[in-house]
Point group: C2
Chain length 330, copies 2
DNA sequence: ACGGTACCTGTTAGCGCTAACATACAATGG
DNA sequence: CCATTGTATGTTAGCGCTAACAGGTACCGT
């Protein structure tokens, strides 16, 4: 910076002013400084700036180590939004084995780094997710999780999506609708099951066929084999598309055609869902939008310095394809 | 730090020494300092440390904005390895629309942040990927890309994987083996096609049925429809599992049973591949290992400060499942 | 002509930390 | 007993930057 100042014939402070867009710099001076910067290939040292201002323009992004469609897409959404807002994104994953202190460790790491705030992609239930020793000094936005907690949250309305999926099946005339659930430690698994139950209850139907899954196609396959043997079940709402793939495979193997004998609805609308056999009716979530809105929420907190526990909800959308139809004999 | 020093009754420099594990600190003194740190909840300011040392213990990770299995898994692999080595990971995605300057922008952003080095997940061909104005001052490791460039690279041996897949089909007795290729701007698409060609050439077979795809199940589906009409083709090597899914769907629709009439091999071994109909024979890549080895390569460069253009290759592995069989009439 | 008020630019201090040197004190050997 | 080494600690300077204040110059009204 001193070099730039010397070349431009000004003081280093004037260079700083140009860099920070301070208004009272004469255009001619500004141009000379910019020319010197260009000539020397100068780039400001952000560590020095962070040291003196106390702000690092870096956000922490904590995520589970999963290649699941939702969290990954959310990650990119947040990164892009952050970049456009002039922030860096420091990613810390919680690893595959989540132990009690791992979230604390992640937050401690990020606090050391003087991040301005943290976005936590944590689709687990509060009890499964190690509770942090509340970092009230650090703005946090939780994405896809913890609607009961003290933090601001942003999420797609899982319950509404599950309800829409189930009501679609009810509307087609199905009366015994099973559910293949996600793993119990995932909040989304609970909410999707809750939405399914609520829709059935509203229609006066029973909700007693629940099969446990773990998001993988393999677990969906196991559930599908069990479903194939159940006589009365004419439809199944599967908690995500990957498990739905397994269900389709099992039903196909067991000679239970979809949708003729059994209708299947998934959740997520992954890119491949349209190319399953048959193409999958599912619930679409706009994760990109979610990332963007989460960042807005965080920046809003930074601006107002008030840590309001705001709730931001994004509506999902049912995508009807070929895996659902009216039950036979109606 | 001054506060800690006062509480412990030492100088701030002694606190610094304790923090950095300097040997000549008396155990009693060290304990007092650690107690003071604990008592005050002190955490070192990394910006200040980075400013004075010139090293930020942060790595840049540049990636394409894709939810494709490989890049995402590599990302986590790198993050975990970096965390274990005590490094932060700052992620910059190149966005969906790659314009000429975007890689330069990403590198400039990271250089400003004083990252120690950069890991670039860039599975595109050198011509498709915007070439950076060589940052010789910044250690770079390219993952899954650019074997001709000046940088150190780490990659799974795509050509060997494709060759293994094709040789598997040849071994089963297939003579006319088609290929569904990835998009031309992807290096991996080229290498997989090259491996296919090489295997066919070695066996004295022709390699003239190539269908263009773009990694998506949709493009695979289109390719599959075309394949279904081709009389002599008894096997197809598809450049990734997602397209293979589309191929399977199209062949099923057109009444061409797999593997009875046509054998299909994919590439990637995504979690779902086992649950395709039929389960997919494919090529497995260990992306986790890849992430780890890439980091090793980068840290090695940092240590030796020599920017050797080392090549690190990881062997893939063919996974045989139910989508391949000997051609009919043999 | 003068003080006032803009506007522009320079000077100084310090953010929290580590490197380098300076100092103190003990242990050792001749 | 003193010089010599080693170990443990303190002191000083400075990393590159911004905030706060201190000039300096031009322009205004009176």
């Amino acid at each position: 910076m001193t070099d730039v100042a010397r070349v431009a014939g000004v003081s280093h402070q004037t260079v700083s002013r140009v860099l920070n867009g301070h208004p009272s710099v004469r255009p001619a001076t500004r141009d000379r400084v910019l020319a010197a910067i260009e000539e020397l290939g100068y780039h400001p040292n952000l560590a020095a700036r962070a040291l003196v201002t106390g702000r690092s323009r870096t956000l922490g992004l904590v995520t589970l180590e999963t290649t699941l469609f939702g969290p990954v897409t959310t990650l990119y959404g947040v990164e892009r939004a952050a970049r456009e807002a002039g922030y860096f994104v420091s990613v810390v994953s919680l690893g595959t084995a989540i132990n009690p202190g791992s979230l604390d460790d992640a937050l401690a790491r990020l606090r050391e780094q003087s991040v301005a705030g943290v976005i936590l992609i944590a689709p687990l239930t509060s009890t499964s997710l190690p509770q942090p020793s509340l970092p009230t000094d650090l703005p946090v936005v939780v994405v896809e999780g913890d609607p009961e907690g003290a933090f601001a949250t942003a999420a797609v309305d899982q319950r509404a999506g599950a309800r829409a999926a189930t009501e679609h099946l009810i509307g087609l005339g199905h009366r015994l609708i099973a559910h293949v659930a996600g793993p119990p430690e995932w909040l989304e698994a609970h909410l999707r099951e809750a939405g399914w139950r609520a829709a059935l209850a509203d229609a006066g139907l029973v909700a007693d066929v629940v099969l446990a899954g773990d998001w993988t196609a393999r677990s969906g396959y196991e559930a599908g084999r069990a479903l194939a043997k159940m006589a009365g079940v004419t439809a199944v709402f599967v908690a995500n598309d990957h498990m739905a793939l397994g269900v389709l495979r099992a039903l196909h193997e067991r000679g239970r055609p979809v949708p003729e004998e059994i209708s299947v609805v998934g959740f997520d609308d992954i890119d491949e869902a349209e190319y399953f056999t048959p193409s999958l009716t599912t619930v679409h979530q706009d994760f990109d939008e979610l990332g963007r809105r989460s960042l807005d929420l965080l920046l809003c907190q930074l601006g107002s310095s008030s840590s309001v526990a705001e709730r931001l909800v994004i509506a999902p959308r049912l995508v009807e394809r070929r895996s659902t139809a009216a039950p036979e004999g109606r």
